[in-house]
Symmetry: C3
């Protein structure tokens, strides 16, 4: 699977200044891509100009794009734009998560040909950015507006992530339609989740009742993981698997009900 | 699972006057909740005012909200508003089903914190209310407009309930994305259905070809029930189960293909 | 399963003139149906007039309808209308595929009562027509606009067909919500695919990594077919099946993981 762009080619470093530089570098790439596409496809020029080229930052472009996608006749795009932009502006960790998510799509999805393609077209990426804002509002105890955002994302993208769910950085929600992530779920860094995946409850318990997904896990299309179970770092959950049990790190689970294959002695490497 | 509000706390009784009082009581709760939220979150005040607070009845509020969500540039919100309101106004049993559905979400979904959250944000609840109207139009032999509503609900909410399907009261469509219910399906009272569930045909028969779901059944995420089979009262269908057979009352079916566990001698109680 | 309209009743023949006549005949049916519905349901008259009755051809009606459904505040309906109409106008094979898809819904979906019902309301049909245009743009190396269409179809219909995927004629995408078809997938003629189906990659390979579906295959709800595997002509894939292997012609695959039943000696006939 081609990793089309490596960290080495950007000036990113681990400190905050590096993160700012990384954001600036990715944003410059996106603007260059949008300008190239606007030139080659005049029918898209106005759309690309208003959505990308006219903006002075990645946060402004995403806020504008999400505001347009999620607005309705009663929830105006201007209100949503302000809400997104204020939240992104006040929290650099949100913006670095966005950049990590863009890199995840470029590196881990072989169908992703450019950063701007992800920014403009990937409902999983866009739903995740809206969730990051909804989660921030949730933590600030602004629950009614967090739920309103959650509802619009579920209507528009068919992606249903409870605003309380905690999601790491560098996460790829591939295809994304039908994804459901429950209130007390936690998803680690560099996780890849395909469409129709459920991180749900068993219906038998209240409180902390949803899965905990370790770093680097890959969850295949249509997999259902139920209950407060831990999926260990680097585990792989096969398509259509129904998981009600803990899955150890670097182990693969397949089938309905899930059975474990592989493991530490036979590590499987994600692409 | 916390039942946050019991029938004992409302003045509901079994007769029609009681249903009217129950509707009035729930509507008063919803207005109070919306006023509280508008005060704590000024960004939502205009939305809450136009969608809830400004209306004189639950039926008007739902009709306005559904009209806005389901309208398009060729199917105007005013037309849809009139259609919903006329239908709700002419049939008290529709309105009592709506109230029972609101109570089902409050009682059976631990993530549901208020009636207004359900009314405003739950696509499963909203899709079901639109279906109730579409079904009424279907029964009145207004099939083209019933199909138009069905299509908009499938586009906007990704919930696909054939307008001929008969659905009981107190039904919870939790998460709801991807739900498909076929033309000759029947769903009883107090049923809970998770997302990605299919009540479909086998493709081998025409006519009466879809499942019959008894009262109080719970159907887990991604379960597929095919053919004119009966799922008995109180049965539970596990997530990802593929059911082509009859499931007796108070029995649990799991797996692909489904096998039965539990039963009358080992009853499982739903939460 | 009632085949409500046979080729014998239309003047279609195999040559191009026949295809034009076939298109004209189907279009005349659609207009007559829309006029009848507008008369019986005045609330729909304006919608039916603007979407169907006012247009001089099937291509114009579909282009108008898709333009309205897929537009946004930044991708205008007029731009999309021109894009669809120009593409349909320039390629008669696109228009004959559309007619074959309409016939597939009438013949193979027992819930489809008229051509106009399919044209107006079936998200699977509409998503497929938009895909046919996106694929044409992709082949012309207009990738950014092909991706923009793909993204709008995924948002609006929850149908995610990569613009590079090659899809035959007379294809029925029934219910359609959650369908995902990957970049290098190929789907033959007269295939029926239910909702929540994935024709995806295994994540282990780049390049040509998606399934090849033969003519006349039936794929049940929630089936997942992964990798560059061949599903032979006339095969049936049961609901919820997870297929990672080749399936021979006229064979049925069921279960997770898939096992094969039936075969050439026990052919199963699709309805």
């Amino acid at each position: 699977m081609p990793v089309q762009e490596s960290h080495a080619s950007s000036p990113a470093t681990a400190d905050n200044g590096g993160e700012n530089q990384d954001e600036a570098w990715v944003w410059a790439q996106i603007k260059a891509e949008a300008r190239r596409d606007a030139e080659s496809e005049p029918a898209l020029a106005s759309y690309l100009y208003s959505t990308v080229i006219s903006h002075s930052s990645l946060a402004r472009s995403i806020s504008f794009h999400l505001g347009n996608k999620l607005c309705s006749s009663t929830l105006l795009s201007t209100l949503l734009y302000d809400l997104f932009l204020n939240t992104f502006s006040s929290d650099p960790s949100l913006r670095s998560a966005t950049v990590a998510d863009l890199r995840a799509a470029r590196c881990r999805d072989p169908a992703c040909m450019s950063f701007s393609q992800c920014l403009l077209n990937y409902k999983g990426f866009l739903a995740l950015q809206a969730h990051r804002v909804a989660h921030k509002l949730w933590v600030q105890n602004r629950k009614p507006i967090a739920f309103a955002l959650h509802s619009r994302v579920s209507d528009v993208f068919s992606v249903d992530i409870h605003p309380a769910a905690r999601i790491g950085k560098g996460v790829l929600l591939d295809h994304a339609t039908g994804l459901v992530i429950g209130e007390t779920a936690v998803v680690g860094n560099n996780v890849s989740i395909l469409h129709h995946v459920t991180l749900g409850g068993t219906g038998k318990a209240g409180g902390d009742r949803h899965p905990k997904i370790g770093d680097g896990v890959l969850i295949g299309a249509g997999a259902t993981i139920l209950g407060n179970v831990r999926i260990g770092e680097g585990a792989k959950i096969g398509s259509g698997t129904v998981v009600l049990i803990e899955v150890p790190p670097w182990t693969t689970a397949v089938g309905n009900p899930a059975r474990l294959v592989g493991g530490k002695e036979q590590p499987t490497v994600h692409e």
